[in-house]
Amino acid sequence: MPEQNNAVLPRGVVQEEFDKAVEKFRVLLGKESVLVKADQLLPYNKIMLSVENAAHAPSAALTATTVEQVQGVVRICNEHKIPIWTISTGRNFGYGSAAPSQRGQVILDLKKMNKIIKIDTDMCYALVEPGVTYGQLYDHIEENNLPVMLSFSAPSAIAGPVGNTMDRGVGYTPYGEHFMMQCGMEVVLANGDVYRTGMGGVKGSNTWQIFKWGYGPTLDGMFTQANYGITTKMGFWLMPKPPVFKPFEVIFQSEEDIVEIVDLLRPLRMSGTIPNSVVIASTLWEAGSAHLRRSDYITEPGHTPDSVIKQMQKDTGMGAWNLYAALYGTQEQVDVNWKIVTDAFKRLGKGRIVTQEEAGDKQPFKYRAELMSGVPNLQEFGLYNWRGGGGSMWFAPVSEARGSECEKQARMAKRILHKHGLDYVAEFIVAPRDMHHVIDVLFDRTNAEETRRADACFNELLDEFEKEGYAVYRVNTRFQERVARSYGPVKRDVEHAIKRALDPNNILAPGRSGINLDTYKKA
């Protein structure tokens, strides 16, 4: 029976079957936890993508509070072939928000599973449920004066460690590569089994959050950016709060400086002199984060001309590139490293160093320093006011941490964005060897023509970058199938073989990272 045109149903599921499943969900979870009315589902359907909301409309949303309930949900889904899209806090915004990948999928919202199960301040780790937010953790740490600090992405206070880590997100502290800091997860599989990774399967073990690898195959990574299970607990390491924290900014005036910046930074990152995930933000990323608006400078449609950007730099003191980093440790350690860092920039002969004392409460320095020291804030949401209109899709190719490569990517991205009348609003997040080149493709969703341009632009970015051997590390739900193709057929075959083995009914998040038994055809 074809999908009804006046109601939202999961693909291939008829109304009668859906109703039966909903009734079982109500018995399992309670009526209050099964949302099917339009005004209950509308908040789950706010998207920032270049398609109509209808393409990502859920048919229902469920909230669970226990692992047993999650097991019950997958059992019912198997019985009625209902696809579910699981979210923890659902706050990955430009990567897809809380809305499902495909119209009609039932959202399983784990926001009520929000217990901080344990924080061990000797071993410096936490074990949490998926609904726990960084804000909640931060409050807990502050209220109890615990000697640890958090690492989080920019939506910090309202996002959560489980969702961010499972999507392989990054933060801005020395623990900024979040999946690397993950240690031990509990996963409900599609058949209802509860699988604990690492040391978690050993009865009475106290090393689940201590030793990642366990014995035999280590499968943690398999559950990230994937649809093989539902994570119901996750452990991660916490950084001991350092006695001294010294954030700083280095401002560069020319776009071409990116080559020297990156080549200077790489050895400092590799040696651990600068231990945190450094950010190099473009002028427009800075401008948005400082809550400037494009309309303050120009109202003509299309991309913002370089002359206007130069004027903004002149007016605000922002650079073409704005590097944020920090030093951590004892005063002696910080002093030594500060000398190494400042000497390196002096030798370069470019870049104006700004310390916290000089910056004071000025934005964006203040929020950057907070993010690098584990203090949550929501300052970066100002990006959404830069152009306005509610469209935001993050294009995030990976680059070598090599100056010439970063410059090449920046030039390519800017050219393609400008061709489509959009702005290059970007930051590089610097690891020792790689760069996450994060570009916020901002557009006006009320403008159908601009929305089409944004969609075409995103496709062209993917295509052109792929031709040069680049691919994104993460993408929003609109483009997951497209990006999966960039990684080649063998990888996709393996992923689908695993999917068939673990979830033969294809109930868990079909379409996640392009993994979908209903649509995938072996090449």
């Binding site: 339009a38 509308l42 306005g388």
Partner: protein
Amino acid sequence: MSVNRRFVLKSMALGSIAGVTMGSAVRALAAGTAAPSATAAARPVLALANEGAAQSIFLYGALAAGGPRLQVQRVGCDPGFMLDFERQLRSRQPMRVIGLLDDASAALLVDIARSGGARMQWLGQHTVEAAFSRHHLLDTDSAEGCSQQFSRQLQACGAGFSLNEERQNGPIGPRRMSGPSRSAGQSAQWASSIGYLLASLGTRTTLTAPLAPVASTPITGSFVSFSIEA
């Protein structure tokens, strides 16, 4: 008359909405509005707005419909406010929240509403340029009257517009409407109309939104309107 939002807020704080801020036109509207339904009347309406002329005009319309039930709160991207708002929603105290915010504040607030378990009848994205406005609505059947009246009022005010409406749990294709620009005099009327219609949602009102005061400078920009029920 040029609208000054501080004046509006200050006046409302004094608790003399119609008398002080908007004069006899609003009093007449309030008197002419049919009695609200019991459920809607029981709920206080909180209007959230940030600084700006469009927001002032939105409040002007909201005040005309909401009268003394309406409370106003200023909003910014402040984590403290957002988390308090979430706690408030989770307390399950019956409450209706309407608002007109900038994109950044709205992105946060709407998501907080979701995690707070609130219901939402209306989510509007509005872009306003000189003498032309574009509107994308995501709404529910309960806001059917609002969207229809909104499009009529856009037609009537004479500024060019385009309107796309998607209905939650509705068909895949959106409903599209548009109107040519005939005059720019009432180009800010859309904000007053939305304020009025959202404050009236759930009540039986047949009147149209009050004519927005003419702004001293063109009101342009990007805005998000919403109606949330806890």
